[in-house]
């Protein structure tokens, strides 16, 4: 039997297709097909073939899968989850098979891999020729790419609002992404990162000593995918604010937040993939936010609460909570956010996303929110 040529694909999530592509190419020696950048068509396709009441991330992923299948992908990756997402793999597979597509589903929920080694073993199903050693060799650069993307984006969000020449930050950031796509290994990644940060620092800025600071919290997919959240971070930043967001792949999956080395080691060894996509360090965060919550409500809800409290404590000027319409774990977090808001006197803007494509409503709310926190800061400081 001739060996089947696999083309792997994972739905678009921010810029994480770059490290995933690197790992598939270099660790598994397979082809990776990044789904085309999301557009209106992606959302329309996804919504058309999804149940109406399912959350927006399901519809976005569905659209991405369809567009990737159209371009020749034949292995779709789906991760598990501690919310409804845990069932999405099967549902996506069923719907797409009913539509007549021929493909394999690499569904992490079904494989029940307990930890990273297990996951690497599972990947052999699609990459019979890849060795564990090869995979392990590709891991450091992959992990570094993820942390580098997150660090660059943090810097970008916190400073771009104060650039003097409009578009200067965008230019460096886009160059960073283009170069990272071509990176061949760890050394390249480090070099690109250093260069990008240096370029960022060289951009002339007009940043006040105490700029407005806004923290963004919320649901895992919507918060990390700028297309899904209508680029709210960029929009707030451009009005003239520092935008902070803890939730990203590095913080939720890669970097153990425990301080001690031993604790860190323990954290890595007890790494439980079943918990994906909530922060794998959910127990640590639960302890941090124990004043407000006792139980994990699934998905990213605990991170939302822990981080909202953290930002409030740090004296941020406002919080933005994003979630897809009907996201149950985040809905459960909203009453807690009400409490944090009144305890720390910090305004929270709640944004719900469905498959609407108009920006106007979101812009009105963001602009009003920004005006409000800006005027408030002016009055309290004078």
């Amino acid at each position: 039997m001739p060996e089947k040529k696999y083309k792997l694909c994972y739905p678009q999530l921010g810029n994480y297709d770059i490290p995933i592509q690197y790992f598939v190419n270099n660790g598994l020696h397979l082809e990776y097909l990044a789904p085309p950048a999301m557009t209106k068509r992606t959302i329309e396709l996804g919504a058309k073939y999804s149940p109406d009441f399912v959350c927006a991330p399901f519809k976005c992923m569905m659209g991405c899968y369809i567009e990737a299948l159209e371009q020749g992908a034949n292995v779709l990756i789906q991760t598990g989850g501690t919310c409804r997402l845990g069932y999405y793999g099967e549902l996506h597979e069923q719907i797409l098979k009913d539509m007549g597509y021929d493909f394999d589903m690499f569904n992490l929920t079904l494989f029940r891999y307990k930890n990273l080694i297990g996951m690497l073993k599972g990947m052999k199903q699609f990459a019979p020729n890849a060795t564990l050693l090869q995979m392990a060799k590709a891991l450091p650069a992959t992990a570094r790419m993820i942390t580098v993307i997150d660090k660059v984006e943090d810097n970008y969000r916190q400073n771009m609002g104060f650039e003097i020449e409009k578009g200067a930050y965008d230019k460096v950031y886009n160059r960073f992404l283009t170069q990272l796509r071509k990176a061949k290994g760890l050394r390249d990644v480090n070099r690109i990162y250093k260069q990008t940060i240096a370029d960022f620092d060289a951009i002339p800025k007009n940043k006040p000593e105490h700029p407005l600071r806004v923290g963004v919290v919320g649901e895992y997919f919507t918060i990390m995918d700028p297309y899904s959240n209508h680029e709210i971070e960029k929009k707030i930043a451009q009005m003239g604010a520092e935008v902070h967001r803890w939730m990203n792949l590095s913080n939720s999956v890669l970097l153990c937040p425990d301080e001690g080395t031993l604790k860190k080691l323990k954290g890595y060894l007890t790494y439980d993939l079943y918990k994906f996509p909530s922060s794998l360090w959910v127990n640590i965060q639960k302890k941090l936010s124990s004043k407000y919550t006792k139980f994990d409500m699934g998905s990213s809800s605990i991170s939302t609460i822990a981080l909202a409290e953290h930002y409030a404590e740090k004296g941020f000027d406002g919080l933005v909570h994003v979630k897809s319409f009907g996201c149950t774990p985040e809905m459960d977090a909203v009453p807690v956010l009400h409490n944090i808001s009144s305890d720390y006197k910090i305004p929270v803007l709640y944004l719900n996303y469905d498959t609407q494509t108009s920006d106007t409503g979101i812009e009105t709310r963001l602009e009003a929110f920004y005006d409000m926190i800006a005027m408030r800061k002016e009055v309290t400081e004078s």
């Binding site: 557009t39 319409f325 009400h338 929270v348 920006d359 009105t364 009003a368 005006d371 409000m372």
Partner: protein, 319 residues
């Protein structure tokens, strides 16, 4: 000649305009229906305001626009400032009522709450994804009941026994309402029930998690409905202040923002006679198909927007 400032609030249902002097006194105000034609309504507002003030004594040096068609009309009348309606309302109301703590606002398509501390807005909420319990719901039910929406308040106050109506969702409310009509409930009871439903829906959705502290100012078109005012007063147990100029608060705020922004741009009442045309261009560069709106004044492109990236930019003098 004294300086004056113009503010226009172009909402989904109604368009409002004021002219103020440098001391923030209202010189002239007007309120009329948008009727699905924001530019036409804005022209009418400008023309009417121009007649109401003495143009030999006052000169409009800056204009501000707000409301859902703020961008369009802002381009049309060369506005110094284009602001969202939440900020405009907060600024307008806190100027007239410096001690206000809570602003309730119900308009034609949206509703919002603004919490104020020491004269500045500290928190707000606005309806998302759903327009239940807003003015347009009351208008459509008025039509169903065969009464003018303007008479709603008076009729509601005549009821001794308001009919309970499910308020969670407009669609459910409507079917509940039909059921209650067919059961034989009196019209005034149903209308009073509707007013209560609007107030309860508002407090449960928009007011969720917010501390509603007195003094409370209620504004927006629905604030002219005494039935809803009474429903709010009853369920909050507080006095509800309805300003006689409550319907003008958005444009008043826009005028104050125009005064405060320090940018003076030439404004002429002649815009009411100029011809403005908009054209929608669908950007062909990617599958996003951004809808770009171009505004022309007497055939000349004055502004465009709607593109998500620089590839879709349409500049003056370019086609």
């Amino acid at each position: 000649m004294k300086k004056a400032y113009l503010g226009i609030d172009i909402g989904s249902i109604s368009t409002k305009g004021v002219i103020i002097d440098e001391e923030k006194n209202i010189l002239a105000g007007i309120y009329l229906w948008t009727e699905g034609n924001p530019m036409g309504a804005a022209k009418k507002v400008i023309a009417a305001l121009g007649e109401k003030i003495d143009q030999n004594e006052y000169k409009v040096v800056a204009a501000g626009t707000t409301g859902s068609a703020r961008k369009l009309v802002g381009a049309m009348c060369n506005a110094s400032i284009v602001k969202n309606e939440i900020t405009a309302h907060a600024v307008g109301t806190t100027t007239l009522h410096p001690d206000v703590r809570t602003i309730l606002e119900i308009g034609g398509q949206d509703s919002k709450i603004i919490c104020v501390e020491n004269g500045v807005a500290v928190d707000y909420a606005m309806n998302t994804l759903c327009a239940a319990g807003t003015g347009s719901f009351l208008s459509s039910q008025a039509r169903r009941l065969g009464v003018e929406v303007e008479d709603f308040g008076k009729i509601a106050l005549g009821s001794k026994n308001p009919t309970p109506i499910a308020a969670r969702c407009t669609v459910f409310a409507e079917s509940d309402l039909v059921h209650k009509i067919q059961m034989g409930h009196k019209k005034e009871d149903i209308i009073a029930g509707l007013c209560n439903a609007v107030a309860n829906n508002y407090l449960n959705n928009i007011g969720k998690g917010k501390k509603i502290l007195p003094p409370i100012v209620f504004q927006g078109g629905v604030s002219k409905n005494e039935g809803v005012v009474k429903a709010f007063a009853d369920s909050l147990g507080e006095e509800i202040i309805v300003d006689e100029n409550g319907h003008l608060m958005g444009c008043y705020g826009a005028a104050i923002l125009a005064l405060g922004c320090g940018i003076e741009k030439p404004f002429s009442f002649d815009v009411a006679d100029m011809e403005f045309v908009t054209r929608e261009v669908v950007c062909p560069n990617c599958a996003n198909h951004c809808e770009i709106i171009c505004v022309y004044r007497d055939g000349e492109l004055i502004d465009s927007w709607g593109n998500r990236c620089e590839r879709g930019e349409i500049k003056q003098g370019q086609e």
